[in-house]
């Protein structure tokens, strides 16, 4: 009888330990999955950032002072060419009745050329501002699309982490079940002596014959509020404490 009780108790303890082990394994699986998902999200965000960086770098480079000067010059040259084209067009007015002296003609032409060059330079700044504004807007659109993708992807992480929390739930459930079985086995181990002793005095005599005849035990059995029909289960803390009192 005592051997069976010990085996049941040991089996219960083993099952409980195995259950705890399974639960820990499940928790580890959950943690790993969450770590992997966070790492994957960080990696994805880094990849998106790498896609955005050349756009920003290119726009910054195009906005630099040397590029701006080149852009201003280019726009100025383009405007001056337009001035010259329009200047060369015939005005279709016919010969003026008031003749203009060569000196005056040259003076007018010189003044017009100077004015055109100066105005073209000024227009170059406007052209550069226009180009810069368009570049910024186009870069903004490209970055906006990448941001949308990044936001969209990042918004999934909480869902994934929530999902991950139940990733090891199978292991946890199995562990809990095994722990519960282990507890039951432990309880069964504890209750088994009482069940066996309930058959009557023969068992009591048997208990006495097995050495449970010490004065302390007999006194304990006599004074116990719960009728003792067998030897105390010393694995039961309550019974052990009662026994120790005697």
């Amino acid at each position: 009888m005592g051997v069976v009780t010990g085996l049941e108790t040991i089996a219960g303890l083993a099952a409980a330990a195995a259950g705890t082990g399974l639960s820990l394994y499940g928790n580890a699986q959950t943690q790993n999955k969450m770590n992997n998902d966070v790492a994957a999200e960080v990696s994805q965000q880094n990849a998106l950032s790498k896609r955005a960086q050349p756009i920003v770098a290119s726009n910054i480079d195009a906005s630099s002072a040397p590029k701006a000067k080149a852009d201003i010059s280019s726009n100025a040259a383009k405007t001056l060419a337009q001035y010259n084209t329009v200047e060369a067009l015939p005005s279709s007015t016919g010969p003026a009745s008031t003749p203009v002296s060569t000196l005056t003609e040259n003076r007018v032409k010189g003044a017009t050329d100077q004015s055109n060059q100066a105005a073209a330079k000024l227009m170059g700044y406007g052209g550069w501002q226009n180009d810069q504004s368009l570049r910024n807007q186009q870069a903004g659109n490209q970055l906006g699309l990448i941001n949308t993708e990044a936001r969209s992807d990042a918004s999934l992480l909480p869902l994934r982490l929530q999902q991950d929390q139940s990733y090891g739930s199978g292991w946890n459930t199995a562990g809990s079940l095994l722990s519960a079985l282990g507890s039951l086995a432990g309880v069964a181990g504890a209750v088994a002596p009482a069940t066996g002793a309930a058959t009557g005095a023969a068992d009591a005599a048997d208990a006495v014959s097995q050495g449970y005849s010490s004065p302390a035990f007999l006194n304990f059995a006599k004074n116990a509020s719960v009728p003792m029909v067998g030897p105390p289960n010393l694995f039961d803390p309550y019974q052990l404490s009662l026994y120790n009192q005697y």
């Binding site: 005005s91 279709s92 003026a96 017009t112 969209s152 869902l159 990733y167």
Partner: protein, 206 residues
Amino acid sequence: MGLGGGSNAADAQAAQQAAQLAGVKKGVAGIDTAFAGFNPQFYNQRAQDYTAYALPQLNQQYRQTGQQLDYSLADKGLSNSSAGSTARGALDQNYALKKQGVVDTATQQSQQLQQQVQGQKNALIGEVQSASDPAGVASQAIGTAAGFQAPNTFAPLGQMFGDFSNVYLANQYANAVAPYMNQNPLLSRVPTTGMNSSAISNYTLN
């Protein structure tokens, strides 16, 4: 592992977002296609169109102002004088400045159109990103792009040589009248700006 659990809500959400993202990319590609015609050549053409529209009007005004100047100079017997040559030169220089202004206006209008087109494109791309139907926004982009390509209506050029006429010719008249005004104190209060030559002649004859 076989005992791994969990719902597929995140997967479903990911699939939905992936589909939406694909829709956004498709929508943006549609917008790019619809706006593909707005290239530098298009905007150069827009500037040239304005120049072609405005220059004939400017030329006509130049011709009319030149005729007024010629009549005025001839009236004073200054047609073949250095003063006449200088006056004509001043008009020509003013004409050159006005042509410069036409080119500048053409450029500015072209740049404004560029900004408007880009702004509309930005708005459509923004809509695509927030719309549940990116393809529908892309279709809308085609209509918007076509709207920009439709011909604009332009106001007439206005009086381009008004300043020259008011200032230069009035000064000419004032200079012509000034000697008589000095001789006759009664004429010292006579306004000359905006008067025609016959009116001034009447004053001087009186």
